[in-house]
């Protein structure tokens, strides 16, 4: 957040960009949030619940991509396995609901743990379990770099995928239904607009966390780990734990989104654990603009819109998605946000 305009007054730290008057980037960002908020409210008023749920879907996917963006965009860790966390989060919601519905315990040993249909409990469990899983996967994967890292994260996610596929207790490849949406105290989560608002707040919190994080000392170290890890080590900070913590936070955010997604659909299956989904999350981050706070949101809007409207016209819509993606990667490296809001300076 440091710019170069103040060379005339070098002794003073320059004003960070975001404290200046609203610029083009600010306008685009506010517009994105406003559209995302206003359209579902309008749809709800008109009784078009389908579009409310579509907005929830965009919001949740954006949140998952915010998590991935922390790893890829800010941390330079190209994780090709974030479906693992999204899926695990989803299964936490599903399994909690399954045992709550059946009134059977989730486990009896070493401690007795019942199921739960309380969203707060499930979210906490999803975030913690995803963090734990990412701690294990990250600890091994971050010993490697480059292509190895990409493939190892992919392979670990496949491991979880095949496990979910062949473990019969929770539906195996058929997946696990959530008959009644898990609930919150005081708020009716089964109402589509309420649920959208819950997701929207989740997205805002995830973005605020990312923004705050990247301005802190931790963010400074993570940025340096991405740009030049030898410099970071030479400065006296070991890059490994910095990366690992970022990876864990990233996974927890994506996992939370996964839990929201399972409850939105009333269903969780190994599909959300598949490598295709990991790829799609990466696509969303890149379409939006990698390493930009609002990139995941822009990418998710574009992706879900293409899926919904192109998918409504032709069943081969992914052919066009492929062409768009290829065009963005080859010719428009800064994504939608780069196109709409101009290039980011410095970091």
């Amino acid at each position: 957040m440091i710019n170069t305009t103040s060379r005339s007054a070098p002794e003073v730290a320059p004003t960070p960009r975001n404290e200046r008057a609203l610029d083009r980037k600010g306008v685009v960002q506010i517009a994105l949030l406003a559209v995302l908020l206003i359209l579902p409210v309008a749809a709800y008023v008109m009784g078009e619940f389908y579009y409310v749920n579509l907005a929830s879907r965009i919001t949740i996917i954006a949140m998952a991509a915010v998590g991935l963006n922390l790893a890829i965009g800010y941390g330079g860790m190209v994780s090709f396995g974030h479906a693992a966390y999204f899926g695990l989060g989803g299964y936490v919601a599903g399994i909690g609901a399954y045992h709550a519905f059946d009134a059977t315990p989730f486990m009896t040993w070493p401690i007795s743990l019942p199921g739960s249909d309380n969203l707060l409990v499930l979210w906490l469990a999803a975030a913690l379990l995803c963090a734990l899983l990412a701690l294990v996967i990250g600890a091994i994967s971050l010993r490697t770099t480059g292509v190895y890292f990409i493939m190892i994260t992919l392979a670990f996610a496949q491991m979880i995928y095949y496990f979910a596929n062949s473990w019969p207790t929770y539906g195996g490849e058929d997946g696990l239904p959530i008959y009644l949406r898990n609930s919150l105290p005081f708020v009716d989560s089964s109402d589509p607009l309420n649920y959208f608002l819950i997701c929207f707040v989740g997205l805002l919190l995830a973005m605020a966390l990312t923004s705050r994080l990247m301005k802190s000392r931790f963010g400074a170290a993570l940025t340096m780990a991405r740009l030049n890890d030898v410099r970071l080590a030479t400065s006296g900070i070991n890059p490994y734990p910095v990366r690992l913590v970022a990876f864990v936070i990233s996974a927890a955010i994506t996992g939370l989104a996964g839990a929201l997604y399972a409850d939105l659909n009333g269903f969780v299956s190994p599909t959300v654990l598949s490598w295709h989904f990991s790829g799609e999350l990466m696509v969303i981050v890149i379409l939006g603009g990698v390493g930009r706070l609002y990139g995941p949101l822009a990418g998710a809007i574009l992706f879900v819109m293409m899926e919904t409207f192109l998918g409504g016209i032709t069943q081969y819509w992914q052919l066009f998605l492929g062409l768009v993606l290829l065009g963005v990667v080859l010719f428009a490296k800064h994504g939608v946000m780069g196109f709409l809001a101009g290039r980011e300076r410095n970091e």
């Binding site: 890829i72 190209v78 090709f80 091994i140 010993r143 490697t144 480059g146 292509v147 190895y148 990409i150 493939m151 190892i152 992919l154 392979a155 670990f156 496949q158 491991m159 095949y162 496990f163 596929n165 062949s166 473990w167 019969p168 207790t169 490598w275 295709h276 790829g279 990466m282 696509v283 890149i286 990698v290 081969y316 819509w317 992914q318 052919l319 998605l321 492929g322 062409l323 993606l325 290829l326 990667v329 080859l330 490296k333």
Partner: protein, 306 residues
């Protein structure tokens, strides 16, 4: 009985391993020589299978189909290299992953558009449909045995190609020092196209051969692609020797795990649970193997790159 089963499963493992080697050798060559990670390699596997099935159906000859399949995959590979891939050599791995992911979408949906969603039929030629009786009274399908044979022949041919020919010399030079071969006056962009097409045709061959065993359908290349990634990560990216070793290891471990783990668990679990636990663990086995190998050797067993 159990010795027969073991021999049969070992052969199945070898057969999976040799087919994985056909996939992995192309991937690892492309990475070793061009430094490129190519997710679309599974698409060439699919292209080979579809072309083989289509040509075999219209000519009635499996071998003609096979030749057409390899040629189609090679042409697809060369075109993709010329149009897209060569713009990616100097890009980040992230860009390479995304661009080749885009290629998968384009290839898969394009194929679905052309051939529809239902699988194509491709059968092995009649002269390969029988069984061979091996020593120890094991009866084993001739076609599968032939696949192992093809894999061995290709492995030897690749070895000779790389160690004995001018092209192989250039590939080796490209692996060790990219600037050097430019300085020697080798036409790098032509070399890259040739290597890429070669890898693609091997993938196409594997797709066609396996397609006759399973089925020819959209997306068939993806599980194999991911297994091939595991193979080259275990073997060390860029190393053909590593790809061979990794492929056989993964093929045998995966096959034996699926058969023997459920049996093993039955020894101390009720049979119904043992089947589930055994199957789940077997499905994860090669990934666990990979994680263990990488925990000790982060660059794989035969790394060509540091």
């Amino acid at each position: 009985m159990s010795v027969t089963l073991l021999i049969e499963q070992l052969l199945n493992g070898l057969q999976l391993g040799t087919m994985l080697f056909l996939m992995a050798s192309g991937l690892t060559l492309v990475f070793g020589v061009m430094g490129l990670i190519n997710l679309a390699h599974g698409s060439f596997y699919m292209v080979g299978a579809y072309a083989t099935a289509a040509v075999a159906a219209s000519t009635g000859s499996f071998l003609t189909g096979l030749a057409a399949g390899m040629a189609a995959a090679a042409v697809a590979g060369a075109l993709v290299e010329l149009i897209v891939i060569r713009r990616l050599y100097h890009r980040s791995h992230l860009d390479q992953v995304l661009a080749t992911f885009a290629l998968i979408l384009i290839f898969s949906e394009g194929t679905r558009w052309l051939f529809g969603s239902s699988p194509l039929r491709l059968s092995p030629p009649s002269w390969l449909t029988g069984f061979v009786t091996l020593p120890g009274d094991t009866r084993y399908p001739t076609y599968r045995l032939m696949l192992i044979g093809v894999g061995v022949v290709i492995a030897i041919a690749l070895y000779l190609l790389i160690s004995r020919t001018r092209l192989g010399m250039r590939i080796r030079a490209g692996e060790s020092d990219r600037e050097m071969i430019g300085a020697l006056g080798v036409n790098i962009s032509k070399l890259y196209t040739v290597v890429f097409a070669l890898g693609a045709s091997l993938a196409g061959l594997a797709g066609a051969l396996v397609g006759a065993l399973q089925s020819v359908q959209v997306g068939m290349g993806e599980p194999v692609l991911i297994l091939a990634f595991v193979v080259i990560v275990i073997g060390g990216i860029g190393s053909i020797k590593g790809a061979l070793f990794g492929a056989l290891l993964v093929g045998v471990v995966d096959t034996l795990g699926r058969v023997y783990l459920p049996i093993l668990f039955r020894a101390f679990m009720p049979p119904s649970e043992a089947a589930g636990v055994g199957a789940a663990l077997a499905a994860m086995l090669i990934y666990i193997l990979m994680a263990i190998i990488l925990a000790f050797k982060p660059k794989g067993l035969f790394s060509a790159h540091d």
